[in-house]
Symmetry: C2
């Protein structure tokens, strides 16, 4: 199979309500676009959510790591490329490149996905899905950023709480993956966004939360440019963790 068919390319424009006060695309919106591209790419090749839902399976995002040297500015066009790097029995690695209006790669992202049976919530064997055809799309396109790392948060002091509301909830009844990103970024004072930019952003999705759940946020400042965060629901179970590196 040709590399062209293995890599999907999708075009965007940085919409005015999708940029922050600096005029730069927000990390939440970029995350949304990345996940959409994953969906488009998989659907076009027969293993997307729509195909899978009919067979009672769904993709579950486990990890996301984004590293950028620049962010598209308001009204700028940009594009995202995505491809499958690896397929294991229970996980697949999907990578992305973010390309600015001049065609320069300004960043990359890595994601790790599992597939589960909707009824049993048990993981599916990716190597037997559609006769293992997903393996045909594995592509050795370079993705020169670190893999998602282990994130450990030791601070026991809750710094913010949020009750999951209507706008947080997706079609599966869960708080959606993008909303966590927004809520986490909202923990920081505005000054940090005035003087620094996010160089690397990681999410580890651990468990689902639901409407009405009380989300509590914990943070370790590793150094003035690196923060590790944890979100728990109802002060018990860890829902997700995040690592943010500013520069």
């Amino acid at each position: 199979m040709s590399v062209e068919n293995k890599i999907g390319t999708y075009n965007f424009i940085a919409e005015p309500f999708h940029v922050d006060f600096n005029g730069r695309l927000t990390m939440g919106v970029l995350g949304n676009h990345l996940l959409n591209c994953a969906g488009f790419h998989a659907t076009d090749r027969g293993f997307g959510m729509i195909n899978l839902n009919e067979e009672n399976y769904t993709w579950v995002l486990s990890r996301l790591a984004i590293e950028l040297e620049d962010m598209p500015y308001q009204y700028e066009e940009f594009s995202i490329q995505t491809w499958v790097e690896n397929v294991y029995r229970l996980f697949t690695d999907r990578n992305f490149a973010i390309i600015n209006k001049e065609g320069k790669k300004i960043g990359y992202a890595r994601s790790v996905w599992a597939m589960i049976n909707i009824d049993t919530r048990k993981p599916a064997d990716l190597l037997t899905l559609h006769g293992g055809s997903i393996v045909d799309y594995i592509c050795d396109e370079p993705c020169p950023i670190d893999k998602p790392s282990r994130i450990k948060v030791t601070n026991k002091e809750c710094i913010a709480k949020h009750i999951a509301k209507y706008s947080d909830i997706d079609v599966n009844g869960h708080v959606n993956s993008i909303r966590y990103i927004e809520h986490i970024l909202d923990l920081f004072p505005i000054e940090i966004y005035k003087t620094k930019r996010i160089k690397r952003f990681e999410m580890a999705y651990v468990a689902e939360s639901y409407f009405g759940d009380e989300l509590s946020f914990y943070m370790n400042e590793v150094n003035p440019n690196e923060y590790h965060l944890e979100v728990k629901k109802n002060d018990e179970e860890v829902v997700c963790r995040s690592k943010i590196i500013f520069e």
Copy 2:
């Protein structure tokens, strides 16, 4: 000028993170698309934000009213048409039609805009802008929904508070128009969205709010299907009002 050039048509797909737990596009995302279409339409005709910013002017949204009999479902394609209905000295009326994947008009929207000088914040005379050329785009396409109405909220009991955060703020440093919609919809219990749908949604934008402002929300239940809402900043100035009619 031909009607074709007066009406702009833009195509969308209901993305997975843009639908609510019912799988229907959220009112906030629809509002975002409407405002983007207004921008595309105006920019393509020489009176968009980008053109105006260079001349030190900007569009300010004053009113938005949306009325729908249906909402696009997840992954469905839909399109939005927009055109200028009227141009007055200080305001212009811009209307929209929302068209489902079968090409049926499932809803309409009306908006009212002013233009202000960025430095003085004073309103500009639309009839002299670009030699009054905006008037050439006036179009008598039907928009069979009521005009935005007066909204009056008498209840003095605050039902929720929200501190404006990083994710709320747009490139102008203001809480963005779409975030108000989301925060207002989040005031309602999930049950209402399980049993009813929003038939008509109105926003009246009165003043700007900024990062760190405390937004407080007031509501009158006119009847079990009609709610009038008001958002104040720092318990003083009215920022916006909204009317929601469920069915």
